[in-house]
Symmetry: D3
Subunit: 275 residues, 6 copies
């Protein structure tokens, strides 16, 4: 993931700094050294500290960046996450980009951690979706893992998910699964989206590895789990929120996918204080 | 902005599709043509329809994409925003990226529109900040404009904003403004951040073009506006939300900058329906 | 895959043409039009005709490129694969790059087709490996498919293959598989490399989805297949060649992976004849 | 060539690792250190050890890579080519890309060395062609040099080679050579392809610097060499293989170009063993 | 600006070195170390020494580059600007690119310094334009600053300059300025081009921040300055040369923009001497 | 060269336009169509009209660009070079970049044409050097050709030029030439720099293809030409200007290289007039 982080950080810095930080150039004497701290302004689950470090390091390899917490840890309001020392101009120029990344990533980790806490003890895993911010998928999915979630496929290339339109085009659930099993890498499981119990049964008979119960009621999900009876993994999807997720998990599904983890992120509140 | 949109769309498509959409490849016959609609699933202010069109066009220039609404318009739940026709494989491969962009952009426009509506009639402008998603600043700022807001500087390179650390480094407000006026392009206004009325006064005397009142109380803002008395533009910043924004606007400030417009975006609910 | 083909073709053309084809510039009058044919100089399985077309198209969208055969078809010595018409300078400049790609791709497809023919009727699939030419993996793997083979994982990111070193690091086969099942995307099957029947048994007990029998004798493979008895997919790997592949297939393995398909490619003999 | 090696290595690593090596991530504890050796599994001429080192270094500058042999040397089965020490995850992630490059490059060097050995003592040089793998020309041509061969032009931009179609377009051999001499950089020799002795004579009269005898019989080549009599360099091309090359060299030609050096490469057998 | 310098240097080195410096490769033994000096062959104002250092550093981080002068200083014929020590091959390969950049940059700084000297004591600033060499604007504008000049806007994105065609399109000076004030970032001043005193008056009334007097006679400029009377910044533009610039400055304008600073640059005479 | 032109134009447009032309956006109504002409404001030799067309085309393929003159032609003050029609916003956004390129290129062609005219009838060719603007070498060298000059090598990779430091490193002129002849592509001529007649003699004996007489007096050049007597090409270099070039040409040298053609370019005066 290192090359991807480099690409993201470099793109972000060029976007923000362009041909130069005009304010700093005229006010801060070259060579001025500064020290700063990244401080939590609320409680949250941390993600992105390494990426924040990379922001400053890619501006100047001589910046000292000391992590006090690690990604995945819970932090409390007021705690210092890391401290930095380096040229004042570099700290000022990297500040906004580092915070933009760190706040979004921690926001994702924190929301994920809340879902994970809700389903604790049920055996269900919380997973993300492809509803990520374009260009930042690697970081979005990493943040989900830091919050205790797992990842669904990265993109269209590394996982099979046969949806309604694919079924229609292939001429039915059986035909679609069959062709996937014949043609695709044997390393990928075949997942299929179902809308009712009839489809679940068809998918099961066709040998699907994973059966997604899409937008079903709690009752339908329960029946689906019973029907599948361990012969395939069961994924619940659609309309999942913090209120409903526990009930869904208790039906016995294996996987619950939650789009909101990444598509509607509240930035965690973090400041960079110079001292 | 065309080259930037191309870069964003291309990056997003490569991120999502990689070496191929394995599911579609085995289920959808080459040459199958499909028709689909982008449909609003709630009320919101539209932004990003041109970017969505670019997603499909960059996959296949022959896709037909017909816009029914224009960016900046209000749409109602159930309305069709645009319809598309093209190879089924192309519609399926572009769907997620197009929605991810369109939903975020419309989310930003919609939130901006709410802030703009709140300050209606006061003479205050709602502006964004640099708290955007790394790599998408061009789209984030465009979406703010579509919601009726205005843009603050794009980045560190095209606007002067002298903050606390710059003031300290330069040896005071007067010295900092003076150096900016001597050295920087004459085309840029000099903005300075102030924390109390003493600093406001100093900034005014030094000839600042824009004075930011940062994290001040309503009462302080009112006094700041009085003190400045039209001799500089006044920008209120910090702790602005939908509850407080009207009161702030009524103090007579010219500009209100709102980080939340872009750092904590709720995706607008939009679907792509095949028919 | 379109963006990847564009990248490969563009890189290849810049590599070959640089700042210009000095010979053509001084000998061929601007505007001269030519017609040429791509002709098979031996029998082979075709792959890469679309990529060859892209070479000329990316030099000049007005080149006419008419395919007579399709990728995946068998062609005979002397048959015309496609004909082209366009500026003579463009045909001359694209010739070498187009042939370099087409000849390698058809070479891969042809060798794959020979392996596939050998195992016909046995139920075993021929798959490739990651022993591809750096930068051309997408084309190498596509060519394997055109020859009737299937693809193993694209890279380290889209498939789990637990090898000796991973097992040692994780503290045993059971522990390694267990951690993969807990942590990784539920969409990926867990494959593990085994060197003897004891390891096969361990892997089976730990719930591996795919068991690779690495560098085993025919006799060991047979015993492995018996032991696994359909509870996991069986992949044979190591020392596979055209002489041994049928015997291996007849043991009942599901998958046979062959590094030679892509690491030691004989270019198919193809010419471009101007007429 | 450093920037080109960086490009190739980076492209290859991104292609293979993508967003991460999922297997290693879950099985190998962060910080585990490993040691490995690159070992020859057969006799060959070495090329690419520096490129292999670059693979690991670009993943992690702290990897220690100690070369025991140098490019261009002959190595024997069982000899250790280099040893490495570094994070286990880095060694595992770079292994395949390093081997893919090193095996292809050594394969080219080894085949070249065989051709060079065949013509020893004749005064003829073995040179490559533009039949290289797209994107890897720099490495392919370097490997030829390591095998004792010389390079023909890199691409269309740095050498003049007037072929049949150019001659026809220019209106004859004399006219083509004349225009090249008038217009092109004076630093480039003018090479022309001939198919029979009449053309050789024309080329000689027109002042060609290099005359290629294309697909001629041994007897024709001998006559060509006699006719040219040292007034131009003579290059034999077409249908050259390990059986025919000595006879061709003994005709007295200066240069023998061999497409097979790079278009049909057998990978040298090399392993990376962890210890 | 660091990323931009890296881009420029890398592009230039790839352009000049391509796949290798063939002369050095065969004549200079690997490992040969050399020492060289950059020497002024005439008097000039220095700019670009850091960029020259970056050229060698990006070829080899171990090159020692010791600056004796700093950008912005005046140097005399015969003075040594910097000395270098490193691999002979690296010094030879970087020489031309380093000199090409350093000579152009110092040429710009020197010409700027002459203009700045001419207007000394008048209160007018010398500024550049967008007439820079494509791809090098960052360096061109930096060099102007090193010569004592100031920068106009970087590009179309960071400054408002309403010209004749914009005025016509907007429906008059007042309308154009009005729309700019309503819509654009409040951080940018509004500059407008005027051709006569009537337009100056209109611009003043519409509240322009900067009024450009374009191609006006000295007399007109004087009247413009009187009319504006400090209510806007005054910029003189068009037909400025070393002969006319003092007279223009003495009219009391604030800003004089000079296209020739960057569009017609005489390279400063600098050599790299090996010793 | 097409890909290189695309790279240059794209880089230049991004550099100038960034995230948008703020002035045009607020003043020019979307959809406004304009017509403009490129007009010569002085006499010169034209180069770059195709590149200028590419600027507008890459912003909008629908712009109509009609060339009235062709590169390489002489144009007179007042003549219209081309006319354009398209969206007003596109014409305004491309104007500066198109002129910057066209004016520099025509400046180079014009200066070259003056040198070429000076040496008319002497048999000497005027050639350029590597003293080009970094990133624009392809255009600089093309412009020299349009002015009637020829190109020296493009860079270090496509031509051999053995200089003082190479000779010293190789251990003498003979050794250096010998190694170049043994090792380098047979398609490149061997050029060597000489400083006096003794070196000329050594170079001749060693079989140099091209002998550069560097910074020699007219008398020395004459003696060098006599000594070489057609056995190698003779190139005069150093201290060439419009006053001295005819005398140098009349000594009988074949090639005169002139750094000033590209290192100190006066932009040709060209305007874009809207009508």
């Amino acid at each position: 993931m290192q090359f991807e982080i480099e690409r993201i950080v470099r793109t972000a810095l060029i976007e923000d700094i362009g041909l130069g930080d005009v304010t700093t150039e005229v006010t801060v004497a070259i060579g001025t050294v500064a020290r700063a701290e990244l401080v939590a302004k609320e409680d949250f689950t941390l993600a992105g500290l390494g990426v924040a470090a990379e922001v400053f390091r890619s501006l100047d390899p001589d910046v000292k960046f000391e992590k006090i917490f690690a990604d995945g840890q819970s932090v409390r309001k007021g705690e210092v996450l890391a401290w930095l020392k380096g040229k004042a101009s570099v700290l000022l120029q990297g500040e906004r980009v580092a915070l933009n990344l760190l706040q979004r990533m921690s926001g994702i980790a924190s929301l994920t951690a809340r879902y994970v806490a809700e389903v604790k003890g049920t055996g269900a895993s919380i997973v993300d979706t492809r509803k990520t911010v374009p260009g930042l998928r690697a970081l979005d999915k990493y943040s989900v893992r830091m919050g205790g979630g797992r990842n669904h496929r990265i993109g269209l290339f590394d996982g099979v998910l046969i949806k309604e339109n694919h079924i229609a085009a292939a001429g039915g659930i059986g035909a679609a699964i069959d062709r996937a099993k014949q043609k695709l890498p044997h390393t990928l499981k075949i997942e299929i989206e179902t809308r009712d119990l009839t489809e679940v049964e068809e998918a099961l008979n066709a040998g699907a590895d994973i059966i997604m119960l899409d937008n079903m009621s709690l009752e339908q999900i329960r029946q689906g789990v019973d029907l599948i009876a361990g012969k395939a993994l069961v994924e619940a999807s659609g309309g999942v929120n913090l209120e409903s997720v526990r009930d869904i998990a208790e039906t016995g599904v294996n996987i619950i996918s939650v789009g909101a983890l990444t598509h509607s992120v509240m930035a965690a509140d973090i400041s960079m204080l110079f001292n």
